[in-house]
């Protein structure tokens, strides 16, 4: 690997939740930390997210969910990634994720649940330190 290697990150808003302030601020912070960021925009279905992962080959996928639909949508996304033999991408979810839901999401392969009040630099460091490849 030469020093030209950049970390590529997908920032996604799954489901119907339209609260994108955090996702956008995060995208900017990741860019400022030297990463290449694709923001998928709102209203992403699991299929759309997986298609984007298949084509863009990101190192990390950051899901932003504030509507409470995380327990329904995250497993579907993880299953579809598995079906497509994608197992080397860091998948993280942030937003409004109650503590008691975290073990369930961890079982499905998600990591790092960053909610309100998290410093951007914490998330940036988390991405840098938890890549799977």
């Amino acid at each position: 690997m030469t020093e030209n290697r950049k970390i590529k990150v997908l920032v996604c808003k799954p489901g119907l939740d339209g609260h994108d302030r955090g996702a956008k601020v995060l995208a900017r912070a990741l860019r400022d930390a030297g990463m290449e960021v694709i923001y998928t925009g709102l209203h992403q279905t699991p299929d759309m997210i997986v298609q984007t992962v298949l084509q863009e080959d990101p190192d990390a996928v950051m899901l932003s969910m504030l509507s409470g639909a995380h327990k329904a949508l995250c497993p579907v996304i993880m299953d579809k990634l598995k079906e497509n033999e994608i197992d080397d991408v860091l998948v993280s979810v942030g937003g409004i994720i109650p503590d008691e839901d975290k073990p369930f999401l961890e079982e499905h392969g998600l990591k790092g649940f960053y909610g309100p009040g998290t410093e951007l630099k914490t998330i940036v460091e988390f991405v840098k330190n938890n890549l799977k490849r």
Binding site: T2, A27, D57
Partner: protein, 330 residues
Amino acid sequence: MDYSDLIEKLLNGNSRAVARLITLVENDIEAAESIINAIYGHTGNAYILGVTGSPGSGKSTFISTLTKLFAEQGKKIGIICVDPTSPITGGAILGDRIRMKDNFSLKDVFIRSMANRGQLGGLARATEDAVKILDAYGCDIIIVETVGVGQSEVDIFKSAQTVIVLLVPGSGDDIQAIKAGIMEITDIFVVNKMDLAGADKKISDVMQMLELKMNYKYESESHGENNLLESNWTPEIIKVNSRKGENFEHLIKLIDKHREYLKNSGVLVVYQKNRIKSETIQILKHKISEKVEGLIHSNPTIDEYLRLVMDKSLDPYSMANLIIKLLGID
């Protein structure tokens, strides 16, 4: 490293392999060498379109509409969207994908976003290699999209066969920018958003700009093979409405016309030769500068030269000549 597994998947039409290989050529020039080595024989089938325009000219909608029509013709399309890397942070927001239609089927359309990563030289190399990968994957058409109409865009489009520049009715800034940059290599000028006032004025502005270019050409002398390049293709101008798909059949006819022209006039061959030359020069530049940098940092003879330059017994130009001798390429 052995990439044969991925390459086999690529040649069998596996999308994930495409994505993985593009990542490799972006990040690792040694990998790029092995990969291109293995797939080069499978390239040459795709037709490559370059599309650019100023911000706000509606490139993404334009490309979406064009892609949809190509897909309806049963073609397989690859799209590479290039966005600028921030010179300050080294990062990039790759924002073209989000503007494309989101209901293309995976088997018809492959979209990939790339950052230009700032440095000249490496800039077009990764895009070039990504184009080859999509070519080997089986794309009939590959669209390379970038933003801006300046000199660096000329570099990106070295591998494009037809270059399309988008304009919008309104201020004349884009004409000025085009004159200074990409005018020389544009094959089709498209005035997008033709429903807006000023569309026809924009067309006549383009024609005026081209007349100036034409007049200049007649007065200058050109010789040999390269004369063919400047020859008989007069850039076409067309207006469209991307949102409504208006006038796109005509546009596709123009693209086909250009494609035919390139084949029949022999220009395509000249052009391909030039492209291969410049690609190779780029690779050479990269390799040589790597070698030189390695040398400068590690060779004791260089330290000697450095001392002499610091003492003013030698100047940097002379030092460079000595290094060329050292490398054996004088």
